[in-house]
Symmetry: C2
Subunit: 454 residues, 2 copies
Amino acid sequence: MDLIARLRAGLPGEAILTDPDITGSYANDMASFCEAGTPAVVVLPRTVEQVQHIMRTATELRVPVVPQGARTGLSGAANASDGCLVLSLVKMDRIIEINPVDRIAVVEPGVINAVLSRAVNEHGLYYPPDPSSWEQCSIGGNIGTASGGLCCVKYGVTAEYVLGLDVVLADGRLLTTGRRTAKGVAGYDLTRLFVGSEGSLGIVVRAVLALKPEPPGQLALAAEFPSTAAACEAVCEIMARGHAPALLELMDRTSIRAVNAMAQMGLPDSTEALLLAAFDTPEPAADLAAVGALCTAAGATEVVPAETAAESDLLLQARRLTLTALEQVKSATMIDDVCVPRSRLAEMLDGTAAIAEKYGLTIGVCAHAGDGNTHPTVCFDAADPDESRRARASFDDIMALGLQLGGTITGEHGVGVLKKEWLARELGPVGLELQRGIKDVFDPLGILNPGKLF
Amino acid sequence: MDLIARLRAGLPGEAILTDPDITGSYANDMASFCEAGTPAVVVLPRTVEQVQHIMRTATELRVPVVPQGARTGLSGAANASDGCLVLSLVKMDRIIEINPVDRIAVVEPGVINAVLSRAVNEHGLYYPPDPSSWEQCSIGGNIGTASGGLCCVKYGVTAEYVLGLDVVLADGRLLTTGRRTAKGVAGYDLTRLFVGSEGSLGIVVRAVLALKPEPPGQLALAAEFPSTAAACEAVCEIMARGHAPALLELMDRTSIRAVNAMAQMGLPDSTEALLLAAFDTPEPAADLAAVGALCTAAGATEVVPAETAAESDLLLQARRLTLTALEQVKSATMIDDVCVPRSRLAEMLDGTAAIAEKYGLTIGVCAHAGDGNTHPTVCFDAADPDESRRARASFDDIMALGLQLGGTITGEHGVGVLKKEWLARELGPVGLELQRGIKDVFDPLGILNPGKLF
């Protein structure tokens, strides 16, 4: 009995896609330089029972399963392999509960991040994790890749908001982890194990998420610096003095010029680094004044605090346009995601500039500076094999630099296909052996997203 | 070659205790109703290499190892078994680094919680987790049991402050997990797996801890209620309105009377519940006024806001004395740790009162009300077999009630020996099987703290 027929026994016809023209469009996420194969079938379940049927079938037939959310990922973790079953969770998109007293939401994995954010806002609540793709990306994908965003410097990452999960295991059994309570320490933290596991341990079909009270609206400032070192000094001072910015972002010269070229933002071309800070505290103007003074002391040539929300949005616009602007520089971009201790941020930026020079490449950097999380973006001509090779080589140098500075190869984008050779280098042999051991406990047949992570 | 001789090959003489009069004093932590055996030897290493030698020896000779911190735990997780090797980490008590820019501390496991707290305060930093035993308990023990405390309602639990670990595995190999960076998603989150694992997966020998900026001093209020239901309604309102108290504690009538009897606090005996709230915000008086109004609306008969830090301390004194006061009621106490969604807190308190009545027992409850985390404390005469039996039975009823209300059997004290039968009930067979599978990956010989958790 073949795969499709077996799937049909527990799924409605419209949930099973086999037309190669259609299934081909599910081949990959948004990562560059990552191989992707052709799926045998794409399934779009709407219920937990359907997911269980799919996984039972995959286990019986030993078919590899690639779970997918909105495919906005940047590491190839959702890329298909040849002959795999793509399990897309996008149709499981219900918000089941929003509870202001317990400050939790219960959701299915296909809920779009921005949809959840707006829904909880209506109850005076706040779901902080805000990846750049928040209007497209799904909560299930956010959980799979342990997504971050701009607000992490104050509010932390996705992992800190996942209290409990329902997970369909490789063999189709249903596991419930964690809790609905504010605290709980009963047994090993399986919930956290699934966050960032990139679909390699099970299929998340429901999540209990922690919410925060909605903060006051934020107010931003922009500060221009004559060097990245001066901007990084300001970052260190801001954090060492105990400030709690809701975002603290840095753009390097290449990013500034790209944004200027695309959007005529009028940022002075002489600026070597732009720092953006925002506060959602009760008295943001006072916080901005204090942070502005620290920027000036660190050498900022100009400090522009917003006085209204509209002015803030305008200042932050430059940051929001950065990736799009860098994509216009050459035919292709490759975005990295190295995170270093913030005390090493200046070295990371200087080192990245040296790598760009070494390979004769344009590399723009924007960074969640408060977290030490840099996104060096290599701009290259994909039609030029030599430049492509250099782009790939520079990417490796950037990760090596991050590790050398006490950092990690991935702050928030994950490992996927893109960085799996590098994961072994970061974890070392003992860590890698234990990670593989855990994988075997959950997926003894190795059918869940094979070829990712390890 | 015997165990002691093998240990001597890699440890100085004074690090090995074999005198039964001394080793017997390492038999147990502070839990009631938990069996404890007699250790064959107690070792007190001072270096990572010594811990590695101990674990290599234990693996070669298949000797069970019971890791211990300051033995202030309340679930028997640190209790010895007959013939075991007790591995006490108390001598590894160095604070290796405090870094205000990266907002981290690097510590050995034997550092006392309060010692670390005061050390980071000197740098304008704050290590929030504050178990009641903070002057005695060690960071290693806090990590092992995933400790909580009063401040969790605002600042979260120990797990949220552990960024990375060095762990000596059962076979003596050294594993480094996690990171020094603010963010990082490279592979499965092994760090979090160790937090709360009660020494069953490896020996934590170093930890990278996240720190917060030191908040302003806090200001408290006390509110007296004619019923626990009214107090719980106030709790729900406070949290639903988006307030962020630094603590939100509830004492029931039994606790209030016990404190009055011991310390003549002058709390009216007619009070059925006392709620204590504190804020460490920039404008605590305004927050207290708003919360006081919510208490009054929920039926508080009296609301007393402190105006100074000294007044706050006085108000909070009643809460701090509760457990000591309840210990005077009868010859023994047994403290439980059930956490429910805060929306179910009133049902938990009413149900606990009904259980006390059913068994003819005195059960005082204090609760981290903002977290829904209750500590029902059964007061009984340990010399009376029937009352002891009823005490044990009431304890089981309380956990069953917690699970029925969507809660967990342990919010912050852990499973240890005390609740291991109940863990299986909370996790269910699928969860339990996976947890055991993980245990086998890390400890295939089963020498690490056997008989705990599962």
